[in-house]
């Protein structure tokens, strides 16, 4: 037999063998499990929650972390003294590690005690005394490990002892200890330490007594200490006093703030105020630790329901139940309707329910969404691209799931987030800014012309509520319906809000000196500039829509798109004219939104968050009165006046309050969106058996197309063989 013939036969035999092997392999796998399961098969029916994160957390140190993607993890690990009750609305603070909510003691400037109803101007100091619960233990961690004689094992390590240790798992021993009040005080001192670079430094330095002085003293002490391996050494903050923060006993500490500041309790419910054991800080400050990436930013040490056992933010992060977690129970009280929705079935049960939470990094929307549909994620947001596949609106305007989603048992949970997106006018700009009647009319005309309802419909699939002022729903002072409308922009017709006709806007524009979009004095067309950092195809559609809205008034809008850095620079220097921006609540108090229009908080000059640089002295005075008041009719009346002023001056085109739509699988229980509480994982419960069953049903591999492909390949090979034979047989001329 010739060489080519042998080759052809061997090739065919190899293909046949490969097909048989593939078939056998396929049959074996099909019998075992889902081929597309991204998790180990042994986890299939375990009590594990699967979630995704789209942006890797940068910092896990509670003194530094301030982003949502960081709070997803650290809020489950660190426990501040207070938390938001999971089910109750309006948002209510309840004790977490504290024994009770503290009642502030007010003092005058001589340190004399004042009655609880003393006027704010007389209150020089407010003292919060917090008693924490006994018996709360930290998660197992090497920083607490001790030998038989009680000496710390890993608190005086040499480089040689560190050896080849590159991860926290390299330390064989772990230990724990009881949470004490001094740990909370230590963390507050960390917030004040300049080298920690806490984003809360500037806020707290205005309130906590002695905060700034402590920062100066600590920096001086640190600078005076000799460096170790070229790095500044560990500074024992517990030895440096801070006038306003004191340890009063093993389980008691106090914080003194300047004046009256009821919002301080909200700050204390954030991870910034979680306890930090000095052992952990010292442990990670030892020479050689940082060069091995062993830092507090990578390995948190807390008392919370979960502890971080896998920290690979490029792939996966895993939270495991903290074996030392203190008794904590599912709430017994909820809103009306919660019981009917099954949210109180677990009332009084010990938390947390879930043993392990696996977060996988998903950079792209498509794989994330497809994995959710395959049952490999237990919850998901809805991207704009998938929206029509998932949600449909009933004739009454109610959002509901499509039939295919309902068939899978998927549930839709919606809620309005305590956030606002708006278009701002730079009040320092000579054309759109200022407080003259002309400027107000121009801004109101534009506010009427920009149809936010249409924007929500086109760009957000209806996921938003047109705003009427700076306060979103759920925040004290927000008034729903016609009562809270902006009377300059909306009419109330039959109990429903309706944007004023464009003719009104044109009339206002003419009164502002721009009839038909032209300057009445010069005859030149009115040209306005919109500054944005959004670029790309989606942004282009957005900008086209904006231009269209301005064309309703014959105003020419020039879009100045730039990168984020340049945009921020423009904002800082007040070089923008019109811009869009947003704000998420730090805490559920109107002060956290109304300060966005407070003059001294202006971005230009004040380096604050008032990006429109709105500065109305009357508004500022009212803000100063309102900020320290307790919620009640008097405060509500002041808020109404402030909102009314802002509506009259129109420094913003009130944009919208975002409505969030999230999807949950049938096997996930106790889901209720709480936009303030970031430690919600402990309340969730899953049914692993149902999940395993559904996953099997949804993910059976489809193998027959493989056979078809192989058959096609064989069909292709056959004519090739024939051609080859013909060629070989062809006799040379």
């Amino acid at each position: 037999m010739s060489v080519p013939h042998r080759f052809a036969r061997r090739a065919i035999a190899a293909v046949v063998l490969a097909v048989i092997l593939l078939g056998l392999l396929a049959a074996m796998h099909a019998a075992r499990s889902e081929w597309n399961d991204p998790y180990p098969a042994r986890q299939a029916d375990r009590n594990i929650l699967y979630a995704a994160f789209m942006e890797r957390p940068k910092r896990l140190d509670p003194a530094q972390a301030y982003n949502e993607n960081e709070y997803t993890f650290i809020s489950e690990i660190y426990e501040p003294p207070f938390e938001y009750q999971y089910l109750l609305r309006p948002y209510t603070l309840v004790p977490l590690t504290a024994r009770a909510m503290p009642v502030p003691v007010y003092l005058d400037r001589h340190g004399r005690r004042l009655p609880a109803d003393a006027p704010a101007r007389r209150i020089a100091y407010s003292v919060y005394t917090i008693h924490i619960r006994r018996g709360i233990m930290y998660q197992p961690a090497p920083c607490f490990a001790r030998d038989a004689s009680g000496h710390y094992l890993y608190q005086s390590l040499t480089r040689a002892q560190l050896g080849g240790i590159r991860t926290i798992a390299g330390f064989r021993h772990t230990g724990t200890r009881e949470l004490v009040a001094a740990d909370y005080v230590y963390e507050i001192k960390r917030l004040a330490s300049p080298w920690v670079q806490s984003p809360l430094f500037s806020v707290l330095s205005h309130y906590i007594v002695g905060f700034r002085r402590f920062a100066r003293t600590a920096a001086r002490i640190r600078a005076a200490l000799p460096k170790v391996d070229g790095r500044p050494p560990y500074v024992d903050l517990s030895r440096i006093p801070m006038a306003g923060v004191k340890v009063l006993g093993r389980y008691t500490y106090s914080i003194t703030v300047h004046g009256k500041y009821p919002q301080f309790l909200y700050w204390m419910a954030m991870p910034f105020f979680a306890p930090m054991p000095p052992e952990a800080d010292h442990f990670f400050s030892q020479p050689g630790m940082k060069s091995r990436d062993l830092t507090l930013n990578w390995y948190p040490v807390g008392t919370g329901p979960y502890m971080l056992t896998v920290n690979d933010p490029n792939r996966q992060m895993v939270l495991e139940r903290n074996p030392n977690y203190h008794p904590d129970f599912y709430p017994r009280r909820g809103e009306p309707g919660d019981a009917q929705r099954g949210l109180l079935k677990d009332a009084g049960q010990r938390l947390p329910f879930i043993r392990r939470v696996v977060f996988s990094l998903e950079r792209e929307q498509i794989p994330y969404w497809d994995k959710f549909l395959q049952g490999y994620y237990d919850e998901s947001a809805i991207s704009t691209e998938s929206f029509n596949q998932v949600v449909q609106f009933s004739p009454g305007g109610e959002a509901e799931l499509t039939r295919s989603m309902r068939a899978k048992g998927i549930r839709l949970v919606t809620g309005v987030a305590p956030s606002i997106y708006y278009y701002g006018f730079n009040m320092l700009d000579p054309v759109v800014g200022g407080y003259s009647q002309r400027a107000r009319r121009l801004r109101r005309a534009i506010s009427i012309a920009i149809n936010i309802g249409q924007y929500i419909s086109i760009f957000r699939n209806g996921r938003g509520l047109p705003a009427q002022g700076p306060l979103p729903p759920g925040i004290f002072g927000y008034e729903p319906g016609c009562a809270g409308r902006d009377p300059y922009i909306y009419d109330c017709i039959g109990g429903r809000l309706r944007r004023k006709p464009i003719a009104v806007a044109r009339r206002l524009l003419a009164e502002a000196g721009y009839p038909d979009g032209r300057d009445a004095r010069t005859g030149k067309p009115l040209l306005l500039y919109y500054d944005t950092y959004q670029t790309g195809p989606e942004a282009k559609a957005n900008m086209d829509w904006m231009r269209k809205e301005f064309r309703k008034l014959d105003i020419q809008l020039v879009v100045r798109a730039t990168d984020y850095n340049r945009f921020q620079q423009k904002m800082r220097h007040g070089e923008e004219q019109i811009f869009s921006w947003g704000w998420n609540a730090d805490y559920p108090d109107p002060e956290d939104f109304l300060f966005l229009l407070y003059g001294p908080n202006s971005e230009v000059g004040g380096n604050g968050e008032n990006s429109a640089n709105y500065n109305n002295p009357r508004y500022n005075r009212l803000f100063n009165r309102m900020r320290n008041m307790e919620n009640g009719p008097a405060r509500e009346a002041i808020i109404r006046r402030m909102v009314s002023m802002a509506q009259r001056d129109a420094p913003w085109v009130w944009g919208f309050y975002p409505k969030e739509f999230r999807l949950y699988q049938a096997w996930l229980h106790n889901v209720k969106p709480n936009y303030m509480a970031t430690n919600s994982l402990k309340y969730l419960r899953i049914d692993p058996a149902l999940r395993a069953r559904d996953r099997r049903a949804w993910n059976r591999p489809v193998i027959w197309p493989l056979w078809v492909v192989l058959a096609l390949l064989a069909l292709l090979v056959l004519p090739a063989v024939l051609v080859y034979r013909q060629k070989e047989r062809r006799s040379p001329l």
């Binding site: 080519p4 984003p199 990436d293 792939r315």
Partner: protein, 325 residues
């Protein structure tokens, strides 16, 4: 040859300094240290003091190229450019802006990149050579024409299409492999099958066209005519003569990309969730982490230069006529 290699390495130094200079200029033309600090510290409640402290902590408080306040040589050495560049030339990669050891991250993340890139290169090469040989063997027939048209069509399609199409077909519709993700050890196999397949298929068009050209060029030479005249079969001519001699340009193309396999694929890693060096670079660009961008560009340049030197050396191995001097 040693003298040649030393000379090439010395040539590489000014090239790397130039690349370094360009990286600095381009990066800081777009991002100022203030912008980097703001991005790192977050958008809320960032004070000028916090920015100044962040810059001092990360060494961005120094001038970029020229320090007028310093004395003597310090005018050049007490600059961000000098401080960062000198360390790179001794392969001390330093720390990223979020405090991580870049060298350690690179060592950890090059393995997932290699897990995708090496099989893609090897298998892709085998597939492309086989298919190119087949089209040459059947040249002038409908099989050749179909193959060439298919190759042109395939090379005209963006890799992104193959990625999304592959994920849709094999992960979503047929449910044969996970749509994205990664695991360590043998568990990684099920995650890398699809990216490797996509990498191979997306490279077939270009690879077949290129290799076919090499083979056709060889098959028209005198020694091939002589071999055929001696009565050798077409298969033997192709495999024993044409393939062997066409391997020189093929090898050249392959050796030059071998070192760059370490740096991974930006698209594949991003869409398939592979925690390799490609996604490392993308994350760093998004986060404006100059430390990582600087190191990755430098490393890419070094690897490319190494690739070129290896290519030259490989010439001498496959073609005894070539002498490096």
């Amino acid at each position: 040859m040693i003298a040649y290699i030393i000379r090439r390495i010395l040539y590489a130094i000014p090239i790397l300094i130039g690349v370094n200079l360009l990286t600095f200029a381009l990066f800081f033309f777009v991002n100022s240290p203030n912008d980097m600090a703001r991005l790192h510290l977050g958008v809320k409640r960032v004070t000028p003091q916090a920015i100044a402290e962040w810059k001092a902590e990360h060494g961005y408080d120094q001038p970029l190229f020229y320090n007028a306040a310093a004395a003597g040589a310090g005018k050049l050495t007490h600059t961000l450019f000098f401080q960062r560049s000198v360390k790179l030339f001794v392969f001390d990669f330093g720390r990223s802006d979020d405090g991580r050891d870049i060298g350690s991250d690179i060592r950890q993340r090059m393995w997932p990149s290699l897990a995708i890139q090496v099989p893609t290169l090897v298998l892709g090469l085998a597939v492309c050579i086989s298919m190119a040989l087949m089209t040459v063997f059947f040249r002038g027939t409908y099989l050749d024409a179909t193959g060439v048209v298919l190759a042109v069509v395939m090379m005209s399609i963006s890799q992104l299409f193959y990625v999304i199409g592959g994920q849709y077909l094999f992960s979503k519709v047929l449910r044969l492999v996970p749509i994205s993700g990664y695991d360590t050890g043998l568990s990684a196999i099920k995650f890398v099958i699809l990216p490797i397949a996509v990498g191979i298929v997306s490279g077939i068009g270009l690879g077949v066209r290129l290799n076919r050209t090499f083979f056709l060029e060889e098959s028209g030479k005198d020694y091939v005519r002589t071999a055929r005249a001696k009565g050798l079969s077409e298969i033997r001519v192709l495999f024993r003569h044409v393939l062997k001699n066409a391997m020189i340009p093929i090898l050249t193309g392959v050796v030059v990309v071998i070192p760059t396999l370490f740096t991974g694929s930006l698209i594949l890693e991003s869409f398939f969730g592979i925690p390799g060096l490609g996604s490392y670079l993308i994350d760093a660009i998004r986060a404006q982490d100059f430390g990582i961008v600087h190191v990755m560009v430098f490393l890419g340049s070094v690897l490319y230069i190494v690739g070129l030197i290896l290519t030259d050396i490989s010439y001498t191995l496959v073609d005894p006529r070539v002498r490096l001097g």
